[in-house]
């Protein structure tokens, strides 16, 4: 790997938001393509971050800072990537279901997935099945992620899946669910495609869904 790519990867790991644009420019000046910089430099750094986080050596704010650093470099690279290459890992539509106001877990899932290169649209909290439906039609996500922290609102996840089915959109999306009282068993029973117990495994699951794992 070129020295500059290595420095870029390190800058991502260290979350050096301020030096990213300059480093990316250097790499371009050396004749590296935007695609190479993204794959070998930035993503290399993010993969390392993911591993360190799982091993317990990096912490949430550090992971988020790394993701921010990567985004900084992407500002410069994005316009240079060919249409196909520029594509995000995939698109994720997120929301806390109807009646539920717990949002920080869902926000974390969103941020982690962004860090993994996903384009994330967050509908916020207390999201009605209908709002999910119109957002699916408009945003065309690969994955719909629903969060619920209450026994009373867990059923709204089932209702939303039904609504997606009835609207004939179920084949177009993978559904993943989560939130403290949610379990794999519950996910299976309401016909979700997957469940994850925390934000890091949510982003792994999302990658699996789009074949990027």
């Amino acid at each position: 790997m070129s020295d500059t790519l290595e420095r870029l990867a390190t800058a991502v790991v260290e979350g050096n938001v301020d030096s990213m644009e300059e480093l990316a420019q250097e790499a371009l000046d050396e004749g590296l393509s935007a695609q190479e910089i993204l794959n070998d430099g930035l993503m290399g750094g993010m993969n390392h971050v993911g591993k360190e986080f799982k091993a317990g050596n990096m912490f949430v704010p550090e992971v988020l800072r790394s993701a921010k650093a990567m985004k900084e470099a992407m500002k410069l690279l994005e316009p240079m990537l060919a249409a196909g290459e520029a594509q995000a890992t995939g698109k994720i539509l997120l929301g806390t279901v109807k009646g539920d106001l717990h949002d920080i877990g869902k926000n974390l899932v969103g941020m982690m997935c962004e860090g993994a290169g996903f384009d994330v649209r967050d509908l916020g909290t207390d999201v009605e099945p209908d709002q999910f439906l119109s957002a699916i039609k408009e945003f065309e996500p690969d994955i719909v992620g629903m969060s619920a922290l209450l026994t009373t609102t867990m059923r709204a996840m089932g209702d939303t899946i039904k609504a997606i089915e009835e609207a004939g959109l179920r084949d177009q999306v993978k559904v993943m669910i989560g939130g403290a009282p949610v379990t794999q068993r519950f996910a299976d029973d309401i016909g979700a495609d997957g469940y994850a117990a925390n934000a890091a495994s949510a982003s792994d699951l999302a990658k699996e869904f789009v074949g990027a794992a």
Binding site: V60, L101, T151, T152, R155, A180, P181, F186, N198
Partner: protein, 500 residues
Amino acid sequence: MQVKKTNYTVNATPTFEVLTEEEIEAIYFSALRVLYETGVRVYEEEGVEIAHSGGAIVEDTTDDSSLVKIPPWMVDKALATLPRKVVVVGPDREHRMELYKNQIYFGAGSDTPFTWDPYTGERRRATYEDVKNFAKIAQAMPNMDFHMSLGIVQDVNVGTYDRWQYLAMLEGTTKPINITAVDLDGLQDQLEMAYVRVGGKEEFEKGPIFSLYIEPVSPLSHSEEVIQKLLFATDNGIPFVYTPCPLAGATAPCTLAGTAVQALTESLFGIVLSQLRKPGAPMIIGGLMSNMDMRTTVYCYGSPEMALLSAAYTQITKWLGVPMYETAGCSDAKMFDEQAVLEATFNATTAALTGGNMIHDVGYLEQGLTSSMEMMVATNEIVDRVKRILRGIPVTDETKALDVIEDVGPGGHYLEHDHTYTRFKDLIWQGPLTDRQNWENWDLAGRKTFRDRVHARVLEILETETEPLIDEDMYKELRQICELADERHKGEELDFDMFV
């Protein structure tokens, strides 16, 4: 000869303080600034209207909410009418909490999706029977002063679990209860039930037999359901807890002082709104403040930061003269193990030493997701020890016992002395579950650990026959309110197995 004599007891109770008065003031006046300059978001029109006509500035109104800014004078005005003491009683009128200053009362937490089954030793979804059994345990624990539903009742219709929880608790305990409500409808039903239990509205008003748990949404938001509950409670003489649950580093600043400022801002808005609606409306502010664990993202229920924040907030509420809702007796451990006891000891001790009034969440494991009877029984004993420490070492002529020392003299002993005989029971703490046997006897008795003894005590309480606390007719009447609610929520039954 020195004539100056200390003939009164000074600071007989050991106390724990983490803030100076200057620091408390700095936090309070900063909260006033946030309330006025940053403002809070209110998602309920009536609430916005009340604040507005009381003098608040309303900005940035969207289709679901407004930004409300409260000038400091409104807070002063509200604090002037806010009761400094709040009383909640049990339906028997014997159990009673007088919440003010250093009065400490311990009690359960509420609404855990899971519970540890004391018989199978498995963690599973909570049911009606569990909630009733937890109330029975609380009833038997002398250091549990109030109760909450240690489990979400999940074997009934989804939207009505709150009424069933209340009924299950009324079946098991006559201690004051802190209820939760699914929504306004659930609150109304439970108030109706309380009227039945206590013999009418007037009786309830004389001494409310429950308080209501309400939580604003950190950061700085007050949802529709929260404001509706606040207004209903205020209108109906229901004391309520208004406790934000900020997570330092995630939904509040990572610095604990910043978290305290934000939480206080959130509580102060509740105080202002309630006093505008009805001057003199009783409330308790708190108290569920902690940090996010930055590895696992969980809300920590056993961290030192939680204990510190609770202690700081308790000092702030005392300075303000508002009863405090504290958090202790809880843990992040998954099961009742060494970590569980360690964390409960730590937070219960800090809570008691700072003098938080209504100290809740006894019985919580796994960050409030699982309840444990063992945890409650163990915490009862922890609290008993702490209460011994709180009694301190009074230093008087009588306790210095110079005459007794003189009497016994060098080389004698005190075992037979009257002075020992008349006092040792009060002064030397004994806990029913604490082992102090020598090796041989412990060995002979089957080498029981603390965990074994606590577990045995749990089973003993569950298996002890007790007189029903409510008679047949009253039970029917109460149950009918729950069933009528179920009627209104038809089709919302949960397939219980789906949840395993």
